[in-house]
Amino acid sequence: MQNADQPIPFPIKGVFVSGPISQQPPGTTTDAQNVRAFDPRTDRNRGASRAGLERFCPDQLAAKSVQEIFHAVQVYGNASATGQGDIFVPLASTFSSYDVSGDPIYEGHPSSPSPSHGTFDQDGNLYTTHAGQNGLEVKKFAGFDPAMLLAGDGFLGQGRGLPNVPGPGQAIANFAANAIANDPRVVDIANLDEGNLNAAASHTITNVSVKSNEILVVAVARHSGFDLGHTLLFAGEAMIETERQDNGDFRTSLWSLKPAADLSGALVLSNTHVSGSVAAIAFKIIQLASSASDVTADDSGSSTTPNSTGAGATTVAKEVVVGVVGTRGPSTDDAGTWGASLLAHQRAGTEGGVATSNVTVATAYRIVYQTGTYTASKSGITSRDWCAICTTFK
């Protein structure tokens, strides 16, 4: 008996269903679906799954079928693409910005005090004027690709120093390093809504990357089980249960991990206890000063107004306040409205069957610039058993 290597090349000549099966022409196949000879990601002729679909326009134009798409061109003035429609709204001591649909880009930006003027350029960059400590300041906030904007993502900004000017107009002062560019931001990873995560089962989110100066955060709502400890692994490293709150056999917990070095791998949520509904939201906070949690608080109850109660006073001025509300109910429940100036982030939950067999978890956050006592609260949710957590990261 002699061994031989038998190459199995990808059938780059595609589907051929018109000949004898035993005499399939070289390089063809009788069955393929959603694959390409040319890898859409690299354009190499090697065999790959096809490119996926994304939404060109984020909005549903109407709950109707599309009969035609057309395009009209006029050479008429200057058209903007990136960021077109973004709006700058001054407040008494700060400003907000909204996108073309009125969704917030950044509400209540910590700019210098005093009302200011703003203007956009064709590329969606925002320029603002401020009466700063040293005189008039000008800042530039870099534009962004709205298609890449993540929910709750902050407005990427960068300050531009302006030199001293001589003479009577000596007003525009050097603009100190702008804190905005270094503001912490929340970056989404994935949501999970598992109707019934069986005992010893797991759910995996692949290709998660967290740098050493970032913090991975997972909010979990869990039904019918108390032993979630050490069941969240990231790249083989156990995440820390930063806070938990139980309400009967319903639990909401917040897990975090600051890796010692840049880490990539799978985020695995495993169940070591009995079966039960579980929902989770994974995200990371970047550009934190120390990437560590600071203060935390929690509470539970049964009402339409979950409230974590106030955490202890934060120890650092600039922190990220994370709010988590878990409810023993389906995701179709009324989501309610976040209070305490928290910016709604994500919401994931199960549905189907008896309402109280489901769980839903919702997250929110707020970037704060002063030390203080912060809470996480919602109002207007469907009346359910709830657990609320407020944890700050510094």
Binding site: P9, F10, S49, Q67, E68, A72, V89, H117, D123
Partner: protein, 694 residues
């Protein structure tokens, strides 16, 4: 030293900052900085001594005091000594003050806002009564007043929309009435239309987004409105000052070397509604709702000159991209094509003519407007080479094709193909200049609608009236290219499907979309890989993703050059090479590789399989199937099932004997995409003794 910001604008790569040291009353100051890095542009400050002193009205709030036109910059200043409100116009390229116009004098009479149009006219809101702005003036580029409107009770904001050529003001009691926002005439300042926009009164600031929508600000509220004043969205928050709104409207350039200034209007027709969109979201089209047939499976549009014209079988409508509005397409001469109440369902633009066909009651006929005038359908006019013409008109010898027209395919200025029910004809030359119809094929027709696309080399691809796909040269030479999958295409009832094709230049191939008219039917689309001359079936897990409409959009930005797909659910999607799922749904991919066997059909034992996948590949499942011949192996249960990972996977131990084997790769996990580098099977060929008994 206290410095007040009076406004900022960006133009041609320069950020202009207008400020004033009002406490010291030392004058207004204008700085210029590079938009790219904030460094000073020339001397800093740019202008100071030549500008009037600013001394703000004591209690009056204001919007921007600077506006920039094509060649001029307008600045509003108050001269502290006399409290005159002065409009200073500066030549942008030199910084020279070209005019200085006193608008009004008196204490606390300041300017509330200023706007400029593309012809260097400036529109100024100012206070004739102390601390109460109520006037709007237009000044030309020389600072000479063109008109002044005094009828408004209070005014705060002015905005000129250069994209849509509209001048808007806001305040309270427009013309002394109950409205607070208005579009006014640039010619004389009179009110063209106005409305009482809910949410505030007065509105303190107005700006636009360059997409035909506008933003209004007042204390604690911002709203977005359409040109007809309907509200798109409302944003309320405690602390909004209401003043100084600014929006990215595309009017302020940063790239001076930019060579293209196209305005793109992308629209969809959704069950009769015309709705605009771009990367950012929906754009309301004025009078766009219920414009076209709500029940037609598809509608076709074609631009000719300024307007886009439609064929839906029941109406005559056109879209104006300049005003972003729908209107009625009326004939200026003759009559638009219609027969027994039926209107055309096919439309194309060719040689400057709008071509129509597909009238149910006149299916063989075609109609062409006058050259460059889609409103002129006068077939009885004095005969000329550019006059309107139709297939059944005697002033042309072209005549009608002998078959039912199913599609119009403009190829070049000289060639228009008629796709017919079971034939194809080519019109060579303009019908009014001796053009003749030549039959290209009397056996192959074209599917209905727009079942075709073109490659960059002039080749035409189309779904034929019998199902198979052909490639056609401009001369009409046909080549059937779908033999490999004809068995599948032959079984499609084309009357139940919308057939669309689209060329993908990046991937160098053609999509064949076969979408059933029954939304709930599953279907298979096909991709023709022109480089490998190969066919690849595509299936969308979510049936709502099956496209009825496709459009190859070539915007200015790289990210805008996309093949757009319009689907059942009202979303516009595109293929994205890096996307690993179909808008939230898994891409269920699979491929059967084989049969593979040693030469001579010798029996063998498949010992193991070694796989190398791309380093950024997600895992992909595999199954191995072995049998005594190919057909048996193909149908056999998996001898081994496993998963290959990125990079080199461990050798997969198999050890199964047979004469033929297949390997299947598959994935159905959402968010996973895979790419193969190489696969190798290690086989042991049976020795002579073993072969006899095996």
């Amino acid at each position: 030293m206290t410095v007040k910001s009076l406004g900022t604008v960006v133009d041609d790569g320069v950020v202009y900052v207008y400020g004033s040291d009002d406490a010291a009353a030392q004058g207004s100051i204008l700085w210029r900085y590079r938009a790219s890095d904030g460094t000073a542009y020339g001397s800093s400050p740019w202008l100071h001594a030549t500008l009037p002193v600013w001394d703000a009205p004591s209690t009056m709030s204001f919007n921007s005091q600077i506006a920039i036109g094509k060649d001029k910059i307008g600045l509003l200043s108050l001269t502290a000594s006399t409290a005159n409100l002065v409009l200073t116009i500066i030549t942008k390229s030199t910084g020279v003050v070209s005019s200085s116009t006193t608008i009004v004098n008196g204490a606390n009479k300041g300017g509330a806002d200023i706007a400029a149009d593309g012809s260097d006219n400036f529109y100024v809101i100012w206070a004739n009564t102390a601390n109460t702005p109520n006037r709007v003036n237009k000044f030309n580029s020389a600072g000479v007043s063109q008109w002044s409107i005094t009828a408004h009770t209070s005014l705060y904001g002015v905005y000129y929309d250069r994209i849509n050529s509209r001048l808007l003001i806001c305040g309270s009691a427009i013309d002394g009435g109950a409205t607070d926002v208005a579009i006014i005439s640039v010619a004389d300042g009179t009110t063209t239309s106005s409305s009482a926009v809910a949410g505030a009164d007065p509105w303190l600031s107005i700006t636009g987004d360059g997409r035909g929508m506008y933003r209004l600000g007042a204390a604690d509220i911002v709203v977005s409105i359409n040109a007809d004043y309907t509200i798109n969205w409302t944003k309320t928050a405690t602390g909004f000052t209401g003043y100084k709104l600014a929006a990215a409207d595309g009017q302020q350039t940063t790239n001076v070397a930019k060579t293209t200034f196209r305005v793109h209007r992308l629209c969809g027709v959704l069950d009769g509604d015309v709705i605009g969109f771009d990367r950012r979201g929906e754009i309301a089209v004025a009078s766009g709702l219920a414009s076209l047939s709500a029940i037609a499976a598809v509608v076709f549009a074609s631009q000719n000159g300024r307007y886009v014209y439609f064929a839906d079988g029941v109406s005559t409508k056109r879209y104006d991209p300049v005003t972003n509005s729908m209107g009625t397409w009326t004939a200026s001469a003759g009559s638009l094509p219609v027969s027994s109440g039926y209107y055309p369902r096919l439309i194309a633009t060719w040689r400057g003519r709008t071509v129509q066909a597909g009238i149910l009651a006149d299916p063989h006929n075609w109609f062409m407007s006058k050259v460059n005038d889609p409103t002129d359908w006068d077939y009885g006019a004095t005969v000329s080479a550019i006059m309107a013409v139709a297939g059944n008109q005697t002033n042309s010898t072209t005549g009608m094709p002998s078959d039912v027209i199913t599609c119009l395919l403009p190829y070049s200025d000289n060639i228009l193909f008629f796709g017919l029910d079971h034939t194809i004809a080519r019109l060579d030359g303009d019908p009014m200049a001796g053009g003749q119809i030549q039959v290209v094929s009397d056996t192959v027709g074209m599917a209905w609608g727009r079942p075709f696309c073109r490659d960059p080399f002039g080749g035409i691809y189309f779904v034929s009236s019998r199902g198979p796909v052909y490639r056609m040269s401009p001369s009409g030479q046909l080549e059937r290219i779908s033999q490999a999958i004809d068995y599948k295409l032959d079984n499609i009832d084309l009357g139940q499907y919308v057939c669309r094709m689209a060329w993908d230049d990046r991937a160098q191939g053609a999509h064949v979309f076969l979408t059933p008219l029954n939304r709930d039917w599953e279907t298979i689309h096909y991709w023709f890989d022109a480089r490998n001359q190969s066919w690849w079936p595509d299936v969308f897990k979510d049936l709502d993703h099956n496209p009825k409409a496709v459009y190859l959009f070539d915007g200015d930005l790289p990210n805008d050059r996309k093949l757009l797909l319009g689907s059942w659910d009202g979303y516009i999607r595109n293929f994205e090479p890096t996307a690993k799922e179909d808008d939230g749904e898994a891409i269920e991919s699979r491929v059967l590789i084989g049969p593979f066997a040693p030469k001579g059909q010798l029996p063998f034992i498949l010992k193991d399989v070694q796989a190398v996948f791309s380093s950024d590949s997600d895992p992909v499942g595999y199954s191995l199937h072995v049998g005594s011949h190919a057909e048996e192996a193909r149908a056999a249960a998996a001898a081994k099932v496993g998963m290959f990972l990125s990079g080199r996977s461990r050798s997969q131990f198999i050890r199964r004997g047979g004469h033929s084997a297949y390997l299947r790769l598959f994935n159905s996990t959402k968010g996973w995409a895979w790419a193969m580098e190489s696969l190798l099977a290690v086989i042991a060929i049976e020795n002579q003794t073993r072969r006899r008994i095996f």
